[in-house]
């Protein structure tokens, strides 16, 4: 067994007692969330003064996944930006792994946000896609930019080189999202999205609680994925580093064998 394999074997899997508990809590949370979203809370039906029924009906249940997804996705990219910043300031590879892990989850979150939003938009706004909406377009561009960021992370180079390069792109990503958001806001000058429904008190008790619960659950699930993804990246890095030790050892033994031959060597 080489020192690499030993080292990785000693580190074990990415699981620890704490993550097992967190994972269990998230799993139970999902069950509770499903119960709240589909059984306990009712459809969104309101009656106007004239006696007409309005509301989102059963489509409101999609918000219990759409809203936590979008909050998780944007939070994840905030973490990526912080990580990128720390890489440049502290020159720490640890933060690079945080930034990368968070961007992967955030990218998935952004994609699912667009997907669930599109499904929800069909019955409520009567369209799969709305070009005039600031938030939709900003999220779309965020998703495209995150794909570019993840592609840059896979470029070749040593760990330090890749960390710095990715950090620059990670910070630019946030700058770009801000610019896109401002320019689209100016361009379309509208959003179909309602203001925070909870703040307006338009959604009553149990619906509000379900939404709040789903957001907390989303962030908890993010934390769980984040810990595992980060640990995996860390192990990969360790593996690389120990791999260098192995390679050096191999190189040295090669030198011992090569010694007598080198004298008369030619091109």
């Amino acid at each position: 067994m080489t020192s690499t394999e030993t080292a990785v074997a000693q580190r074990g899997p990415t699981r620890s007692r704490a993550t097992t508990i967190l994972g269990g809590v998230v799993l139970i949370g999902v069950a509770v969330w499903l119960f709240l979203a589909f059984v306990a809370s009712g459809p969104d039906i309101r009656t106007t003064a004239e006696g007409n029924t309005i509301g989102q009906f059963d489509a409101v249940r999609l918000l219990y996944i759409h809203v936590p997804l979008v909050i998780t996705a944007y939070s994840a990219f905030v973490v990526t930006a912080i990580g990128s910043f720390m890489v440049l300031v502290k020159k720490s590879v640890w933060w690079d792994l945080v930034a990368g892990a968070s961007a992967e989850i955030g990218s998935l979150g952004a994609a699912l946000t667009l997907l669930t939003g599109s499904i929800w938009g069909r019955p409520i706004w009567n369209t799969w896609w709305e070009w005039g909406d600031v938030r939709i377009l900003t999220t779309l561009v965020l998703f495209m930019l995150s794909l570019g960021y993840l592609a840059v992370r896979r470029l070749e180079g040593t760990a330090e080189v890749r960390a710095k390069r990715s950090a620059v792109v990670g910070l630019l990503l946030v700058v770009n999202v801000a610019i896109v958001n401002k320019s689209v806001e100016w361009w379309a000058d509208q959003t179909l999205h309602q203001n925070s429904t909870i703040a307006e008190g338009a959604i009553a008790d149990l619906k509000a609680f379900t939404l709040f619960f789903s957001i907390v659950l989303g962030l908890a699930a993010y934390s769980w994925m984040m810990i595992h993804r980060f640990r995996l990246a860390w192990l990969e890095r360790q593996y690389d580093r120990f791999g260098i030790d192995d390679a050096i050892a191999a190189r040295r033994s090669e030198a011992d064998h090569a010694q007598p031959v080198t004298q008369g060597e030619s091109a």
Binding site: A151, E156, K164, R165, V168, L172, W187
Partner: protein
Amino acid sequence: MLSEVLLIAGKDLRIEFRSRVALNQVAPFALLILILFGFALDADRASLTTFTPGLYWVAILLSSVLAVHRSVAVEAGEGAREGLLLSGLRPASVFLGKTVALIAQILVVAIVLLGGVVIFYEATIDDGVLLVTSLVGAVLGVGAAGTLYGALLGGQRARETILPILLLPVLAPVLIAATRAFGDAMGTVAADGWPWTSLLYAFAALYLALGVLAHGVLMEES
């Protein structure tokens, strides 16, 4: 500092003058995109005229990607990137010099393309001052962002495929703003083009600043 910038810009422009890549390859490519739009829209004159600003800027952005490639390839070829590192030139000067040269080349393409839309799409220019001002602002932004992201990919073998997905979303605000400004200048939309023009200059200023700050890291690390 200024002499270093001019040295780099002069070098890139001299190489372009010798090889004529922007003039003989990028500009024809941009015109070709215009012609393809013509085919795709069934040569419907009215729609072509209406959509001129958007089609024009899409053509500019796509051909700018080629110009950025060329700007990077000049340094990657015989290892001149390393020569620049060894020369003691300030990274900020290298960034600004290459940006100036890239902007000059894209401007030439943009002017050729302007002739293209006037001829092929029957575009009319109502407000020449707005048109030129917004054009310059947009090209400044494209040049600065293009040089920055180009430097990032440096000698990478995968750069041909990564550059478009990296750069084009970043340039989305330029597309939006320049299309609006051109819409006003060409009289195809009833909007005030000047706020959009100032957005273009803000974008350009931001990316010039970011490039000056980041280019040291990128030259060193890619």
